[in-house]
């Protein structure tokens, strides 16, 4: 017996989690990952319907979703690199001024920057043997 609703439930949960991540996170790359999560939810629905109807239409659609996701990831990452090149940051708030001038900005006053986290102490071995000659290394 084919139980369709289980898969629809999981697909919609993934879709909604993707929406929430896309809207809350501020890192451009995490936002892109959330968009891909939404695509996963949709393809899970399509594959479940394909199995339910015992034909290939849903699976063919999912194959096209896969193609579009690959294109989207390539172009989006190129765009992200360009944006990073301009601002030296992956923060989406740097681009919140692109709207009309008279529309209120969605830029939220963020809480103060958390105080500088003390550097993590890693255990280290006592140096032994001969110290390598670092002076003659070519400049990187």
């Amino acid at each position: 017996m084919v139980v369709l609703t289980n898969y629809l439930v999981v697909g919609s949960i993934l879709f909604v989690l993707g929406i929430i991540g896309f809207m809350t996170r501020r890192n451009l790359i995490t936002m892109m990952l959330s968009a891909e999560l939404m695509l996963h939810g949709v393809s899970l629905n399509l594959v479940a319907f394909s199995n339910f109807h015992q034909n290939f239409q849903g699976q063919a659609f999912t194959a096209f979703i896969l193609t579009v996701a690959a294109c989207e990831a390539g172009i989006a990452l190129a765009l992200i690199l360009t944006l990073y090149h301009r601002t030296k940051s992956l923060d989406i708030n740097f681009w919140s001024h692109l709207g009309e001038a008279d529309i209120e900005s969605s830029h939220e006053e963020e809480p103060a920057v958390p105080a500088a986290v003390p550097a993590q102490e890693f255990p280290h071995l006592t140096p032994a043997g001969r110290r390598p000659n670092l002076v003659k290394m070519p400049p990187v």
């Binding site: 017996m1 084919v2 139980v3 369709l4 609703t5 289980n6 898969y7 439930v9 999981v10 919609s12 949960i13 993934l14 879709f15 909604v16 989690l17 929430i20 809207m23 809350t24 996170r25 501020r26 890192n27 790359i29 995490t30 990952l33 959330s34 891909e36 393809s43 594959v47 199995n51 339910f52 109807h53 015992q54 034909n55 290939f56 239409q57 699976q59 063919a60 999912t62 194959a63 096209f64 896969l66 579009v68 996701a69 690959a70 294109c71 990831a73 390539g74 172009i75 990452l77 992200i80 690199l81 360009t82 990073y84 090149h85 940051s89 992956l90 923060d91 989406i92 920057v113 986290v117």
Partner: protein, 290 residues
């Protein structure tokens, strides 16, 4: 107001996991300084368990049920961890785990080609590209934008309202469906998908009418729309998609290169155009180095 309170108490099995889930997501989202994630995780586990207990229907085949619970549980939990992680590199790795579990669900739905293609494309290509970009563009140390989410409470609430609406349309909780089935009133759901049975007409030629889907009972609770859902015929297809060939790679290939030939060509062109576009958009070495 009174009606909505009555409705909520009648559908607490749907409403309670939504509230708990929104609470868990907004507690787990990074906000300011690092704090304990224990309470949020406990609430989230409670929401997932409650939702799974009320929403999911067992198939009766225990191995299928076990694999489904395993894959879907791993998918949902790692999706939440992906959203709430403070380090985008870990987010990408959790997303790879989501992809692998979704591929397991694809396998359970007899789509082996799509499962392997998704592993290759997502886990093999997209994740690696994301990690490359992270290494190129991520600032050293902890960044302010990764530590502070935007309006996580409001957005989580809105998202879970949407999820509640979707789940209500897809599958009403089991107790409600059972009650309406016991009372014997003819409820045909808005999308009465739940316990349909697929019958194959034996004497029909596969090229003409491959599958007849007939709904026997329905699990919805909303009043019936005007469209009857008794007989749903899938659209005609030139390739044979009988249940014997379903799930095989041969059948999917016949479908892709028969029914969807032009779309496949278009997809190939799209890939070409996208790769050219990405090369043009990406910053060049001459215009400054990354």
């Amino acid at each position: 107001m009174n009606n909505s309170v009555q409705w909520l108490t009648a559908h607490w099995q749907l409403a309670l996991p939504m509230v708990l889930g929104a609470l868990a997501i907004s507690l787990l989202m990074p906000k300011g300084e690092r704090r304990s994630r224990l309470i949020g995780s406990l609430i989230g586990v409670a929401a997932i368990g409650l939702l799974g207990g009320t929403m999911l229907r067992p198939t009766g085949v225990w191995i299928q049920d076990t694999l489904f619970c395993l894959f879907s549980g791993v998918a949902v939990v790692s999706a939440v961890l992906m959203l709430t992680n403070r380090n985008p590199a870990y987010s990408a790795l959790w997303f790879a785990l989501v992809t692998l579990s979704v591929c397991g669900l694809f396998l359970l739905q007899s789509a082996p080609f799509l499962a392997s293609a998704t592993v290759i494309v997502y886990a093999g290509a997209i994740i690696v590209t994301f990690l490359f970009v992270l290494m190129l563009a991520q600032q050293a140390g902890k960044t302010n934008y990764d530590q502070n989410a935007r309006r996580s409470g409001v957005i989580a609430f809105t998202g879970f309202v949407l999820l509640g609406a979707l789940l209500f349309a897809i599958a009403p909780p089991r107790a409600v469906a059972d009650k309406s089935a016991d009372s014997g009133e003819p409820v045909t759901g808005f999308v009465s998908l739940a316990p349909k049975k697929v019958e194959v007409a034996a004497d029909v030629k596969p090229a003409q009418q491959p599958v007849v889907v007939r709904s026997e009972t329905s699990g919805g609770v909303m009043p019936a729309p005007s469209v009857p859902v008794d007989e749903v015929k899938p659209p005609q297809s030139t390739s044979t998609s009988t249940p014997e060939t379903f799930g095989t790679m041969r059948g999917l290939g016949r479908s892709l290169f028969g029914d969807y030939l032009f779309a496949v060509e278009l997809a190939g062109t799209l890939l070409l155009v996208a790769s050219i576009g990405a090369i043009i958009i990406a910053p060049k070495r001459s215009s400054g180095k990354l």
